[in-house]
Amino acid sequence: METKQFVVIGIAIALAIAVAAPFLASGNPDGLESAFFSIYEAKPFMGSELDEDAAGAAEEQAVAATGNDFSYEALMPDYSIPGMDKAGEVLAVVIGTLLMLALVFAVARVSARPDN
């Protein structure tokens, strides 16, 4: 397979995953969040019911425990675009994927071994 063809197919696969992800992705807490909620008694370790109030309180407890109250408003929080629904999520992941492509290409280009 030619490099060009390989790259085009690779980008197509990445974009297909990016478009599908917002529809297919599970909204359940990930492993770290799940462990955190269980430890702070907002969710049973091996159960699925999440107590939203307790989850909110848990986050405050974590800030109180570590003293790290750094907060930062991301441009597209949680892979969404404020004010937009599913279309915004698709757009967010697609933008992220294209941004990754451009950023990594640029950084790799600057840092790669020159072939003289």
Binding site: I9, A14, F36, F45, S48, S71, P77, T97, L101
Partner: protein, 212 residues
């Protein structure tokens, strides 16, 4: 497994940043010495694919989900643990800064856990297991699983030091969830390696032996 800012005190978060920066410097040195210009498009496509697939949370039991990290895959395909560090650092940077996924002050810890541990366990696990059992895809599966599991164990230890998780409970929970999520990591790593090896066996630093 992206740690948010609130989970680690600022001082400790800085220590992980220092460790991360040392590995980032080593990864840049690897790139300058070993990442040829012909690899640039491959690295970029791999990073874009890893970013996209990280957005795909797959449900596991116990009301929980998990997604691939991808450091092991990058390290195996590009033939160096530092490739995992290189790609994951940039993925985590974009995720944290643009999408608020993973904290800013704790980004160093996330780079250490996912990029460094993922890259090193993925790469050395793969080469060692492949030497013993002879099958590249089984080796990629096991190394992918181990890279994710060990990242999660280290994360639990860091959070115990931070005072956020009790050690035993944190290890039990993080270990249990990520033993299952590791199957996702191992499975996608093996399938992606197979696809890349089938399409372009020449770009692999360590031939996977598709024909065998």
């Amino acid at each position: 497994m992206h740690i948010p800012d609130a989970f680690i005190p600022m001082g400790q978060a800085l220590v992980y940043w220092v460790i991360a920066l040392i590995f980032i410097a080593l990864a840049l040195r690897w790139a300058r010495r070993s990442m040829g210009e012909e690899k640039i498009p491959l690295v970029a496509v791999l990073a874009a694919g890893i970013f996209a697939i990280q957005a795909l949370n797959i449900p596991i039991p116990w009301g929980t989900s998990g997604h691939m990290v991808g450091a092991a895959l990058a390290a195996i395909v590009l033939g160096s643990p530092y490739a995992g560090v290189f790609v994951l650092t940039l993925v985590l940077l974009v995720q944290g800064v643009i999408f608020g996924d993973g904290g800013i002050t704790v980004m160093g810890a996330n780079i250490v856990n996912m990029g460094v541990v993922g890259g090193f366990i993925g790469y050395y696990g793969y080469t060692a297991i492949k030497r013993v059992i002879g099958n590249a895809y089984a080796a990629a599966f096991i190394a992918g699983w181990a890279s994710l599991f060990i990242s999660a164990i280290l994360c639990a230890v860091e959070l115990a030091v931070a005072g956020t998780f009790p050690l035993a409970l944190g290890l039990t929970m993080m270990g249990t969830y990520h033993a299952v999520i590791g199957l996702i990591e191992g499975g996608i790593t093996a399938v992606a390696l197979y696809l890349i090896a089938s399409a372009r066996p020449d770009i692999l630093e360590h031939p996977a032996g598709v024909s065998a």
